[in-house]
């Protein structure tokens, strides 16, 4: 228990406001990190996932680029890069449109400089979609990835 508390303090130490809030007893240690979006990550359709993160009205944009392999031989590890020239980026979400749970990741960003990279699982050929929130509006782009060996099990 003591070790766990130490980890919490260490983890929150770099977070300024949060550590103050934790010290003041406003947040329990388990709530130091932002609440996980269970509706978004639990959604089974891309549209539902987008709605859960407030991005239902995302507009297609040439200012968002999704880079991923044309063909992924191993669906367990598909590298995805999101590049955007949009200013004032507030968040980026990544979705695999045919994944059992399409929402893969959702990042809130500050001082973002236009490039984000991650690796995701894909069970079958599908579009990988990035949704970028900038200046209060949502912009989106997608790239089709052909998957020859799925990586979602089942």
């Amino acid at each position: 228990m003591k070790a766990m508390r130490r980890n919490v303090l260490k983890g929150a130490g770099g977070l300024g406001m949060l550590s103050v809030a934790a010290a003041a007893g406003l947040l329990k240690p388990t709530q130091v990190l932002a609440d996980w979006n269970s509706a978004g990550f639990g959604a089974t359709k891309p549209a539902d996932a987008l709605a859960a993160i407030g991005a239902a009205g995302a507009a297609d944009s040439k200012d968002v680029q999704v880079k991923a392999p044309d063909i992924a031989e191993n669906g367990a590890v598909v590298p995805v890069e999101v590049t955007t020239s949009l200013a004032n980026v507030e968040s980026i979400a990544i979705l695999g449109e045919k994944n059992a749970n399409p929402l893969i990741a959702n990042y809130q960003l500050t001082d973002f400089d236009g490039f984000l990279s991650t690796r995701m699982k894909m069970g079958q050929t599908a579009y990988v979609r990035a949704v970028v929130k900038a200046g209060g509006k949502f912009y989106t782009a997608a790239k089709e990835v052909k998957v020859t060996v799925g990586g979602c099990g089942g």
């Binding site: 766990m4 980890n7 919490v8 260490k10 983890g11 929150a12 130490g13 770099g14 977070l15 300024g16 388990t30 990190l33 932002a34 996980w36 979006n37 978004g40 990550f41 367990a76 590890v77 598909v78 695999g96 994944n99 059992a100 749970n101 399409p102 929402l103 893969i104 990741a105 959702n106 990042y107 809130q108 960003l109 500050t110 001082d111 973002f112 400089d113 236009g114 490039f115 984000l116 990279s117 991650t118 690796r119 995701m120 699982k121 990586g151 979602c152 099990g153 089942g154």
Partner: protein
């Protein structure tokens, strides 16, 4: 079990590599035929000199041994980068790096 983590930063980019099974709860164990319980990283927070620059949430669709790289404006040599993560079982991990 603590989440293993390596952090590197330089050329305006922060790179984080974790050691984690990232099970989405949908995969069947090849031997037993039973579903492997979900076990994945849910939250990752990255701060530069104490200021949060990324507050991320992940689902089970992130690959095993999760990787995250992103560029931050104004990142300069000597800046301190701190990363913390927590998974769906409450296990935590953290890592630090100084921007080269």
């Amino acid at each position: 079990m603590a989440i293993g983590m390596r952090v590197r930063a330089g050329n305006g980019e922060i790179k984080v590599l974790m050691t984690h099974p990232s099970e989405n709860g949908l995969r069947k164990d090849a031997k037993t035929g039973q579903l492997v319980p979900a076990h994945f990283v849910k939250n990752v927070v990255v701060a530069v000199n104490g200021k949060t620059v990324l507050d991320g949430q992940w689902g089970g669709g992130v690959s095993k041994d999760p990787y995250l790289g992103f560029k931050v404006k104004g990142l300069k040599a000597g800046d301190k980068v701190a990363v913390s993560a927590e998974d769906n079982k409450g296990d935590k991990g953290s890592g630090e790096a100084v921007v080269s």
